[in-house]
């Protein structure tokens, strides 16, 4: 009996273990953001049998409309869009064939700007003209009759009432309390004096003194931030103080529906009789009739929380757009993850359109309005990163495969707007290819770069690696040595033949006529200041000597002591590597000495500046190619620092820099012959023959993508030329104003860029010969030891020896 029991136990244990092991692996359960948990096969490309999905197409817009403010579905099934033309005149366009043909009509000329526009089902247009206190609601009927109704927004929050000042020709708006009005430009007679004094101090004779009295200023107590219409055609608006109000279009009567004083209000959407208000504490569901609050919806709360990280709303669009669903108490909402259908208080949302397969996945695109046209059609109004309106149509095709059969996998350590845009652009032209982005380090994940690279390496070894690698932050040299990357010279030749490439940059990466990795964009390190400063910037040692002569007590030399090391490392490191692959000891010593001398000079400056920049990084990957030179130069203008050092990331940076120089004098020059590579890519060898991969890389280095994104200068010559052409031929008039710590308002006009600027700048780029050391292992080691030296935790010799020991150890591996 006991023996039989023993045998039985033995078999049972074995069987349990085998069953348990067999249960490992299989399908992963994933939860798309804002959607329901769904079982997804790991390899989506294998779901060949599943059919039916929404296909995206872009609707051709009438050329008369420069920007679209609103769209609406009319009772007769046609679509109406309204906005303004290139000259600023308001107009509308109607199409009865979903955008194939448009009938454009002008709207009445209004004396003031229209801040909001909404379209009702009967073709009536509601236009809010002017801002806040003296706003008018214009109701424009389909046949052009206009009825005006005045309304007044509620008084602003706070005891002092507050005021908002805006200027024509500038986007800058400052909010100041009444108590400070004496120190602001509201006191017009003060500004010219202050400007004169500032110019005298800075010794410029060419600065133009902008008299603030020449600019029209408008005092505003409150203003409309967002507007929409409810199911009954009433206008629902959000004001500057987080209040939601309904405006009766007949009487102009204002009814407050929600006061966001406690919970705030980020944005809202309307579906039928429900208002969905995204607040700090989740999504509040309100009745559009009386503002009464409905029970919360867990799914929508999650949507609201996710939306907080989405900055595309900053462009005047919103992180989430909502519309009424077909069923009662249902809504559809769209974000960068896709379009979802949700029944109120339901526990799930159905993902109707996958953002990854459409332009919705392009995080640089701003979402403005969504309409569920019918059960098989959605319309999305959006704008790109430069404000161009786009209208997308999504139509269900039951014969299209649920997921495109062909798949490209792209791996990147960190998410990137440029990559998302590249993918969205590619997919719009290649709907039969699914481009999947795998991000190694997602926000708040706690995964380090090393962990992510190890996981990637494991996948590569297992044969499950990606097709394309975005190499920023990765051990590129190792991948080159191991033959992981394929030669891209064929693809680059095509780009060169069609558009041209900066040859000097390409040559840095060329080995025996082959190119395995190449940055698609780059940044430049510059030093800016007086002529003497710029002359001293020739070498770090000279700069350190010169800086000692101009140092004044209590005044900073640089806008951040902490970032000195990183900035100079980026500028100087290109020359450190010797022929034998080891670091030059002399150069490291000189580098550390110079940086320490500069760092020590600023030792007696208050830490306020340090605190401001404590979370800043200058790594292009971390900043998405944002150039830091602008901040440094503004600091020089504000007299916070004497020497400006940083990176130039785009033509706007350059224009900023040149404009400030026109105001206060000075010049700039490149630091060293080094450029900072950004958005480097490579093809994994196993995938080099895939046509779709080659086509993607052609698009990645191509002109269209290069000129439509910001963050670094494009390596594509045509795109670079076109960006310059646009800046030179279509300069935008603008000026910027800001106040320094003393409360003095400082402003400057943005000067237009000229051919001369372009020639000089291009020559400077063409003279660059070295890439800043991309290897993050080396940069981390140098900066770690450098920081200890700057803080006097170790001597110069110790720091140099530690750097050499560690880096040489790394190189000898």
């Amino acid at each position: 009996m006991r023996k039989k029991l023993k045998k039985f136990l033995a078999v049972l244990v074995t069987a349990s273990l085998c069953t348990g092991l067999a249960g490992c692996g299989g399908n992963a359960v994933s939860q798309p953001e804002g959607g329901q948990p769904e079982d997804k096969p790991k390899d989506e490309a294998k779901t060949e049998d599943a059919k039916g999905r929404f296909l995206e197409s872009q609707v051709n817009l009438p050329s008369e409309l420069a920007e679209i403010m609103s769209m609406g579905k009319l009772e007769d099934g046609s679509i109406m869009i309204a906005g303004f033309d290139p000259t600023g005149n308001y107009c509308k366009a109607v199409s009865s064939d979903m955008g194939e043909n448009w009938q454009v009509d002008m709207l009445p000329d209004f004396s003031e700007a229209v801040s909001e526009m909404e379209i009702l089902k009967d073709g009536t247009i509601l236009a809010v003209v002017g801002y806040a206190d003296n706003s008018e609601l214009k109701v424009i009927s389909k046949d052009g009759q206009v009825k005006s109704t005045s309304f007044r927004l509620p008084k602003g929050a706070g005891e002092q009432g507050g005021s908002v000042t805006t200027y024509e020709d500038t986007d800058d708006i400052t909010i100041e309390t009444e108590g400070e009005k004496d120190n602001t430009v509201n006191e017009q007679e003060n500004v010219p004096e202050e400007t004169d004094t500032l110019n005298e101090q800075q010794g410029t004779s060419e600065a133009e003194n902008k008299d603030a009295s020449e600019q029209e200023k408008i005092d505003i107590d409150n203003m409309i931030v967002q507007a929409d219409i409810d199911g009954e055609g009433n206008l629902i608006i959000q004001d500057l103080y987080a209040k939601l109000c309904r405006i009766d279009t007949q009487t102009g009567e204002l009814t407050e529906l929600y006061n966001g004083e406690e919970d705030g209000l980020d944005f809202f959407g309307i579906a039928g009789e429900r208002i969905y208000a995204c607040t700090e504490n989740g999504m509040k569901i309100l009745s559009a009739k009386d503002g009464s609050q409905m029970p919360e919806d867990a799914v929508l709360n999650e949507v609201c929380q996710t939306a907080k990280g989405d900055l595309s709303g900053a462009m005047g669009a919103y992180p989430v757009v909502m519309a009424e669903g077909m069923e009662e108490n249902s809504l559809v909402y769209g974000n960068h993850q896709g379009v979802f259908y949700h029944k109120e208080n339901g526990s799930v949302s159905e993902q109707v359109i996958n953002g990854e397969l459409t332009s919705l996945g392009d995080t640089s695109m701003g979402l403005k309005q969504l309409l569920m046209w019918d059960e098989i059609t959605y319309m999305l109004l959006a704008c790109d990163s430069v404000g161009n309106s786009k209208l997308f149509k999504y139509v269900y095709d039951e014969n299209a495969s649920a997921v495109p059969e062909e798949q490209i996998n792209i791996y990147t350590l960190k998410d990137s707007t440029i990559l998302r845009k590249a993918v969205a652009n590619f997919q719009s032209t290649h709907p039969d290819v699914y481009v999947k982005i795998e991000i190694g380090i997602s926000e708040n994940s706690g995964v380090t770069a090393e962990d992510a690279i190890k996981s990637l390496n494991t996948n590569i070894l297992a044969g499950k690696g990606p097709d394309i690698l975005i190499l920023d932050g990765m051990p590129v040299n190792s991948y080159l040595e191991k033959g992981i990357l394929a030669d891209m010279s064929g693809i680059l030749k095509q780009v060169e033949d069609s558009d041209g490439i900066f040859e000097n940059i390409k040559q840095v990466y060329e080995k025996d006529g082959k190119v395995y990795a190449l940055p698609s964009r780059f940044l430049l390190s510059v030093i800016e200041g007086s002529d003497d400063t710029v002359a001293a910037g020739e070498s770090l040692t000279k700069l350190a000597e010169y800086a000692a002569t101009i140092k004044q007590e209590g005044k900073a030399l640089f806008y951040s002591r902490r970032l000195i090391l990183e900035t100079f490392y980026q500028a100087d490191s290109g020359t450190w590597m010797q022929e034998d692959g080891r670091l030059d000891e002399g150069k490291i010593k000189t580098f550390l000495q110079a940086v320490k001398a500069l760092y020590d000079l600023d030792g007696d400056v208050p830490d306020k500046m340090e605190q401001i920049t404590v979370s800043l990084s200058l790594n292009p990957t971390d900043t998405e190619g944002f150039g830091s030179a602008g901040i440094a130069v503004i600091g020089r203008m504000m007299k916070q620092n004497e020497i400006a050092i940083g990176t130039l990331g785009d033509l706007y940076n350059l224009r900023d820099l040149l404009s400030i120089e026109a105001e206060i004098g000075g010049s700039y020059q490149m630091m060293g012959e080094t450029f900072l590579p950004y958005m480097s890519a490579g093809i994994v060898k196993e995938s080099e023959k895939k046509t779709s991969v080659q086509e993607f890389m052609l698009a990645f280095y191509g002109k269209e993508l290069a000129k439509s994104v910001s963050g670094g200068y494009p390596i594509n010559r045509s795109a670079y030329e076109e960006l310059w052409k646009k800046e030179i031929d279509e300069p935008t008039d603008s000026s910027l104003a800001m106040s320094n710590e003393e409360g003095v308002i400082i402003s400057y006009d943005m000067i237009p860029l000229t051919e001369e600027h372009k020639d000089k700048f291009t020559k400077e780029i063409e003279s660059l010969k070295l890439a800043g050391i991309e290897d993050t292992t080396i940069s981390d080691l140098v900066i770690e030891e450098g920081e200890k030296y700057l803080k006097d935790s170790q001597s110069l010799d110790e720091a140099v020896q530690n750097i050499l020991q560690k880096v040489n150890l790394y190189l000898s591996e």
Binding site: K3, K6, K7, A10, V11, V13, T14, S16, L17, C18, L21, E450, I453, K454, N457, I460, L461, P475, S478, Y479, K482, G483, I484, T777, L781, E784, S793, Q794, E798, N802, Q805, K806, V807, L809, Y810, S812, E813
Partner: protein
């Protein structure tokens, strides 16, 4: 009888099978794969002993292997000696010894990250040790960035593993019959003679187990070294695990596999050698 033993055999096999399957899937099969990769390039082509030649020419490997060997040679005898003395002392203390034995195990319960924090508090250039040193008006020592880092690591290893080793020795000591000691006393052997001629020979089997376990534990000290010094710590504490970790990140699987095979062979020879020499002595 034959029938009975066959049944017993199969019962035993069934009981062992789950563990064996687990060890095979997670240890044996991967190791065979590693041995296979040691003779291949990353692209899968056969390269003979090239990878082995590479690692023996690689300065980083030689440094790491030297440091690992040096660490083992210094730590193991120290650990064995100190823990044995501690175990013998505890045994003579009776009940008090039992309480103290538990306290020896406390360091093992402290998480590595906490140990590293304590380490930094003590040995940082502005830490407690340097404060003490400055009281004697001596120059501060940068423990973690000089060759002192090696001794700090040794200290950490001894401190952490002493308790466990004491426990193992104690188990061995308690297995020795009291009658042997009584007989020894009656024959006129003093304490040291009893220790040398009675205790030590009877601890031979325990010693073998303890040495093997201590060798394994000596590799775990990498965790502290890594948390303090990162991927590239001070030279004297740069060990084989650092190198393997870095090679993995750099996708140098060929070198890593070859080095793993070399390490396996060295350890196998060592363990077998120890076992044989102990067996010979016991005969």
């Amino acid at each position: 009888m034959k029938y009975k033993s066959k049944k017993q055999k199969w019962t035993g096999i069934f009981f062992v099978l789950p563990e064996f399957l687990g060890v095979s899937i997670f240890t044996l099969i991967p190791f065979v794969d590693v041995m296979h990769r040691a003779f291949l390039r990353l692209d899968g082509s056969f390269c003979g002993f090239d990878n082995f030649q590479q690692i023996f020419r690689n300065k980083a490997f030689l440094l790491a292997a030297g440091n690992t060997l040096r660490f083992s040679v210094v730590c193991l005898p120290l650990l064995l000696l100190v823990s044995l003395l501690a175990a013998v002392s505890l045994q003579t203390m009776g009940k008090m010894g039992g309480l103290l034995k538990s306290s020896y195990l406390l360091p093992m319960a402290i998480p590595t990250a906490a140990v590293v924090l304590i380490w930094k508090l003590f040995f940082d250039s502005h830490g407690l040790m340097n404060r003490l040193i400055s009281l004697f008006e001596a120059d501060p020592i940068d423990f973690m960035n000089t060759s002192w880092a090696f001794w700090v690591l040794v200290f950490s290893y001894l401190w952490k593993n002493l308790g466990y080793t004491v426990l193992l020795w104690s188990a061995g000591l308690s297995g020795i019959s009291e009658s042997i000691y009584e007989a020894g006393k009656m024959d006129g052997a003093n304490t040291i003679q009893r220790f040398r001629y009675l205790t030590l020979p009877n601890l031979r089997q325990s010693a073998f187990t303890i040495v093997v376990i201590s060798i394994i534990n000596s590799f775990k000290v990498f965790r502290e070294a890594y948390l303090v010094g990162g991927n590239y710590p001070q030279e004297s504490i740069y060990q084989l695990q650092h190198l393997f970790n870095n090679w993995f990140r750099e996708l140098s699987m060929d070198k890593m596999s070859a080095a793993s095979v070399v390490l396996f062979l060295v350890l196998t020879v060592l363990v077998i050698g120890l076992q044989r020499s102990w067996e010979r002595e016991s005969i």
